[in-house]
């Protein structure tokens, strides 16, 4: 799998240096802003990416709710907001992974009437941009009395993730040899027991990869939260950070009590799970980030 990359590597050292320099230059627009985010969160103030001094006081928002004196604006407790975000992310992950595993197994292993149609449908949905249905989705959510309820986001997000999830899980089940499943069946396990005891453990890498992706997308969700969850008690970090950024970065620059480095710290707080995944789960990220395309 990796041999080809060595074969393509230029033999001259000078050429290799040019490639490295080109890649670093092309990537600077990514590297510098993320460096800014990390440095800014611990800086007293910033000039470009250079801090004027270092401090931990930007993280005070973790201890006491942010208040804007005079304006009467008080931000909800960060822990409540973080919990709301975590709840949406976790529920989306569990639903997406289980539904995808069931459906993916059926698509990969079971012959049933309408299987071809079902498979074609999931593939068309893979390309179809579900977000185009947002207006009608609003009607559906309202019909089920879910407006303002976190489950509106969880269920919608799960639905948007499903075509990809089914596809990823089907791919993983396809790679497992039939003999293993057969052996279990011969030993007298029922098909459903075989699924839970033999097959699911074998596709653990797929479950892990899909979980990580679903968690990140649930955790980061923006549009659905903005449209379905307007009330402050169900705010997620998305709403919290957006309000802060609007107040001090974009518009009223000198809102008392809110500093730029503090907002950057909130941004870094919101990034923590993603940073952890980038450090500890790289191979999964590379595998499913753009949709579980084989060989990536």
């Amino acid at each position: 799998m990796t041999e080809i990359e060595y074969e393509l590597m230029p033999s001259k050292k000078k050429h290799r240096m040019i490639i490295y320099i080109a890649l670093i230059l092309l990537s600077l627009p990514i590297i510098i802003p993320y460096a800014w985010l990390v440095i800014g969160a611990f800086a007293t103030d910033l000039r470009g990416v250079i801090p004027t001094g270092l401090t931990l006081s930007n993280w005070k928002f973790l201890i006491e709710p942010i208040q804007v004196p005079g304006a009467g604006v008080k931000y909800p407790d960060i822990w409540l907001v973080t919990f709301n975000t975590l709840f949406i992310a976790a529920a989306t992950t569990i639903l997406t992974v289980f539904l995808s595993a069931f459906g993916g197994y059926a698509l990969s292993r079971v012959k049933f009437a309408g299987r071809g149609l079902f498979l074609a449908l999931t593939m068309v949905l893979r390309a179809f941009p579900g977000i185009a249905l947002l207006v009608a989705l609003f009607y559906v959510i309202n019909m089920f009395r879910l407006y303002g309820n976190p489950w509106s986001v969880i269920l919608s997000k799960t639905a948007l993730m499903l075509p990809l999830g089914l596809w990823v899980m089907k791919g993983f089940f396809d790679t497992i040899s039939w003999e293993i499943e057969m052996a279990a069946l011969v030993d007298g396990l029922s098909r459903i027991k075989t699924f839970f005891k033999i097959m699911l453990p074998l596709v653990r890498p797929g479950l892990a990869a899909l979980s990580i992706l679903a968690f990140i997308y649930g955790w980061s969700e923006y549009i659905l939260v903005v449209v379905f969850l307007p009330t402050e008690k169900s705010w997620t970090l998305t709403m919290y950070l957006q309000r802060l950024a609007y107040q001090a970065f974009a518009g009223e620059v000198s809102v008392a009590g809110i500093t730029r480095p503090m907002i950057i710290a909130v941004g870094l707080w919101y990034m923590i799970p993603i940073i952890l995944f980038f450090i500890f789960a790289q191979k999964y990220l590379l595998r499913v980030a753009v949709g579980g395309v084989k060989g990536v």
Binding site: Y6, L23, P129, A132, L137, V140, S220, F278
Partner: protein, 319 residues
């Protein structure tokens, strides 16, 4: 499928039988989701487009009024041109252009190092949109906070840029760059994996024939990469047409009057934002254009990219 022969034995076949109840348990939850969140909304979009529904959710059918209004609206032309400009500029420069460049460059270095750059470019895609927006505020703010202005003023000494706020000064550039840096990773990974699957003998043979690196890329790799590039173009056209969250965050369609308003954002403004008056009927008519286009294109892609090949029957025939 030689393996399938084994289970022609009757006892084994019974062993493998899966009860229809089990099949229903496996598939039903997924089907329920697909019906509620895809089928119903598609149907509703069609129906709502012919009503004047507002926040009261009343079904009052008015025929083609919404579509007449759409055609008569002089701003629709501007929004249409904005959308085409946004989709094709971002697509060509970043989703395909930058993506292809990154895919080729990362395949020319050892895989371990290549993966570092690949992961780096995945970061924007997996960053919460609001944090990504915060990064762009940091990039574009006036001196001394903004990164661009810090570079221009303190490093290049160009004092005249001191007070420029780039989101207002160059909204299109910011919108396209911000979306492009997210979009580049898709092309990078898809095209990158296609490069990995080029037969090694082809590369060796070309090298033996004395092909330079440039010729190797131009004459061997690019022709093989034609299909993946087409795939990326097709897929990303649809996602660029319908996604609007970064534009909503960065410019909200402004600055000024509809400067960066694109079709999908216009749907949001008309039907789903507090300032738009909750015009669900008109919003549905606007999104019907996207839904029909989305359905047509996804079925077309399904045919072009021979997805059908991937639908093979399960290894064991069990009924």
């Amino acid at each position: 499928m030689g393996k399938a022969l084994v289970i022609r034995d009757m006892p084994l076949k019974r062993l493998l039988t899966i009860k229809s109840v089990t099949v229903i348990l496996l598939i039903a939850p997924v089907l329920v989701f697909i019906i509620i969140f895809y089928f119903m909304p598609v149907f509703l979009t069609f129906a709502m487009a012919f009503t004047d529904m507002d926040y009261r959710f009343q079904w009052n059918f008015v025929g083609f009024v919404n579509f007449q209004r759409m055609i008569r609206d002089p701003l629709i032309t501007k929004i249409l041109f904005n959308t085409l400009f946004y989709v094709f500029t971002t697509l060509l420069c970043f989703n395909v252009g930058y993506g292809l460049l990154l895919a080729i460059l990362t395949s020319l270095i050892p895989p371990r190092v290549g993966n570092v750059f690949r992961l780096l470019w995945l970061l924007p895609r997996l960053t919460p949109p609001v944090v990504y927006y915060l990064l762009w505020l940091g990039i574009t703010s006036p001196y001394p906070y903004g990164l661009i202005n810090f570079f221009l003023v303190d490093i290049l000494g160009l004092e005249q840029y001191k007070d420029v706020y780039w989101i207002y000064a160059a909204p299109w550039a910011v919108v396209i760059l911000a979306n492009g840096f997210v979009g580049a990773s898709f092309g990078m990974l898809i095209i990158g994996s296609a490069i990995k699957s080029i037969p090694i003998d082809v590369i060796r043979a070309a090298k033996v024939d004395g092909a330079s690196l440039f010729r190797l890329i131009k004459d061997i790799m690019l022709p093989i990469l034609k299909w993946p590039i087409l795939f990326v173009t097709a897929y990303q056209t649809l996602s660029l047409l319908t996604s609007f969250e970064y534009i909503l965050l960065l410019t909200d369609g402004g600055p000024g009057f509809y400067t960066t308003e694109v079709w999908a954002l216009h749907v949001y403004h008309k039907a789903l934002s507090a300032f738009g008056g909750w015009e669900f009927g008109y919003g549905a008519a606007l999104s019907l254009v996207l839904v029909v286009l989305g359905l047509a294109l996804s079925i077309l892609y399904f045919k072009i990219f021979r997805f059908r090949e991937l639908i093979f029957e399960p290894k064991v025939e069990v009924t």
